[in-house]
């Protein structure tokens, strides 16, 4: 009991001193998709594909494609030049917004057929977490 109280006290002291990050990580066992890998964790909420699709379209227009590329839900992503680095950037964007890191292995070529299929895949994975 005393030992547990001592550990808790040390944790608070570390927190106060600002040297706590590593200590906390050790105490809370990390797992894939854990908050320590996520800059901004939001509470898990149901996500519908339409909402994700709108977010994707906005992100792709802003961050990935040239202004004169018509980014529509039917856009063939791979043919339009979407590559592995674009995918990682997209996953970091999803993680920032939804607090969950989707492993790249979950994104298949079929999912990358167009923006709509990608949005459906992302919504399914986010809802299944």
């Amino acid at each position: 009991m005393n030992r547990a109280a001592g550990q808790a006290l040390k944790l608070v002291a570390d927190l106060y001193a600002g040297s706590c990050a590593r200590t906390i990580m050790c105490r809370l066992a990390p797992h894939p998709g854990h908050w320590q890998d996520s800059p901004r964790r939001q509470s898990a909420r149901m996500t519908n594909p339409t909402e994700i699709e709108a977010q994707l379209l906005d992100f792709l227009r802003r961050e990935v494609f040239a202004p004169d590329v018509p980014v529509t839900p039917e856009l063939d992503l791979i043919a339009a030049g979407f590559d592995s680095m674009s995918l990682v950037r997209l996953l970091v964007f999803i993680e920032t917004d939804h607090g969950y890191w989707i492993p790249e292995s979950e994104i298949t070529t079929a999912a990358l057929q167009n923006v709509r299929t990608l949005a459906e895949t992302l919504a399914r994975l986010l809802n299944a977490r």
């Binding site: 590559d83 592995s84 680095m85 790249e104």
Partner: protein
């Protein structure tokens, strides 16, 4: 006289490497594209097209200059412009041409060499200084030069990239230097030692893969790295084999740093054409992370995701932009101060993906084969470029002698081949 044109940070870094290579007795930081053509083309046609293009784009006959920030200064009539030469076929001529320095300070930023090969065919060797443009731009430039139409289109001008506030750029640049400092916990050691009396040459070796082998490599990449994971698979394979190579030549390193080039161009455009639109994401592999291809893939994926979270693309761009105000030796001094001793990278890695589909013909001749040859810096002394032509994968391994011998580099290329086929 046309106005001066500014170099961006990546252009300047490439120019800095060019000066550094020349200072150490190498030809410079030049790259090559070799086109195999199914028939002979007339040099006069090529000269005429280049002269027309240079009228519209003075950067094609410019020299580096500028007091504080570097700029391209157009030269009215550089000697020998348009630079097109014709050679009889000789063994090893392409490599010899790569070892022939361009007179960059005199306004010779690129050169075309036409080599008549057997049976009325021709090889076209396009050599350009990397400071002028990156490999993807060079592909598109060749597509424009070699178009069927006599009237060439206007090439799009360089659009200025939105710039971050100075304070933010300094913050990101510090972050970049801090990452390099972290690498020093297991600082990479390359084979970059001086060989003052030895001949300084670059050699290359091309590995070609059949359509069936290419499909197998793509499947291996997809299995290990997921959809679109080709480039990551190639980089991981290169890292594993680099570790083996260092062990083989008796110079194992505490770690290996690979610069992963990231295109800054938005997808769907080739603009701006005459510039380097790349940022480098530095990735460090410890020897234990190179025990297998799968382990290397995991290490690479983890670091790439972390790098994007930490805005390291912006940080890499920021430091190169700021370096335009620094003399290059000072930039190297800063790195040395942080313990890297000028050894930034362990390997030169490039992945230009598919050759542009616009490049099927050149001045009326059909392009039957295509080769990218990169330029490596003395410190790593070895590099590789992966690309696809006509649906088949190509791998060019290039190395500096005497850092690595020809048999060592050939064995390295062969091991890369074997690991790509069976990771």
């Amino acid at each position: 006289m046309p106005a001066d044109l500014p170099l961006n940070g990546a252009d300047y870094l490439m120019l800095g490497f060019d000066y550094e290579l020349r200072r150490q007795g190498y030809a410079g930081n030049s790259c090559q594209i070799v086109l195999a053509l199914d028939r002979v083309i007339a040099p006069s046609v090529l000269r005429q097209r280049l002269a027309m293009l240079a009228e519209r784009h003075p950067i094609l006959r410019a020299r580096p200059g500028g007091w504080f920030t570097p700029r391209w200064k157009p030269v009215a009539a550089p000697p020998g412009f348009p630079p097109v030469r014709v050679h009889p076929a000789q063994p090893g001529l392409t490599e010899k041409l790569g070892d022939e320095p361009l007179n960059v300070r005199g306004g010779e930023l690129f050169r075309f060499d036409l080599i008549a090969t057997a049976a009325g065919k021709m090889d076209l060797v396009f050599t350009w200084t990397h400071a002028l443009m990156d490999a993807l731009s060079a592909e598109h430039f060749l597509a424009v030069v070699g178009r069927e139409e006599v009237a060439l289109p206007a090439l799009p001008p360089a659009a200025p990239r939105p710039r971050l506030p100075l304070r933010e750029r300094f913050r990101l640049a510090r972050q970049n230097v801090q990452q390099l400092t972290e690498f020093c916990q297991a600082a990479p050691r390359t084979v970059g030692v001086r060989f003052p009396g030895a001949p300084k040459v670059q050699r290359h070796h091309v590995e070609k893969f059949s359509a069936a082998e290419t499909a197998r490599i793509r499947a291996n990449g997809a299995q290990l790295c997921g959809a679109l994971g080709d480039a990551q698979f190639h980089a991981a394979v290169a890292a594993v084999e680099l570790h083996h190579l260092h062990g083989q030549v008796g110079r194992p390193s505490p770690s290996y740093v690979l610069p992963i080039p990231v295109s800054l161009r938005p997808k769907g455009t080739t603009e701006p054409l005459f510039s380097n639109q790349i940022a480098m994401l530095m990735v460090q592999f410890l020897p234990e992370q190179l025990a297998s291809t799968a382990a290397a893939v995991t290490a690479l994926k983890t670091q790439l995701a972390q790098a994007l979270r930490a805005r390291r693309i912006a940080a890499g761009t920021a430091i190169t932009e700021l370096s335009r105000g620094l003399p290059f030796p000072l930039y190297l001094y800063i790195l040395k101060h942080h313990g890297l001793q000028g050894e930034i990278c362990s390997f030169f890695y490039g992945d230009t993906a598919n050759v542009t589909p616009l490049l099927t013909h050149f001045c009326g001749a059909t392009i039957t084969d295509f080769t990218h040859v990169g330029s490596t810096t003395p410190s790593p002394g070895i590099g590789a470029i992966f690309f696809y032509f006509g649906g088949e994968m190509r791998l060019t391994v290039f190395h500096l002698e005497p850092h690595f011998s020809q048999p060592e580099a050939a064995a390295f290329a062969d091991r890369l081949r074997q690991r790509l086929l069976a990771p």
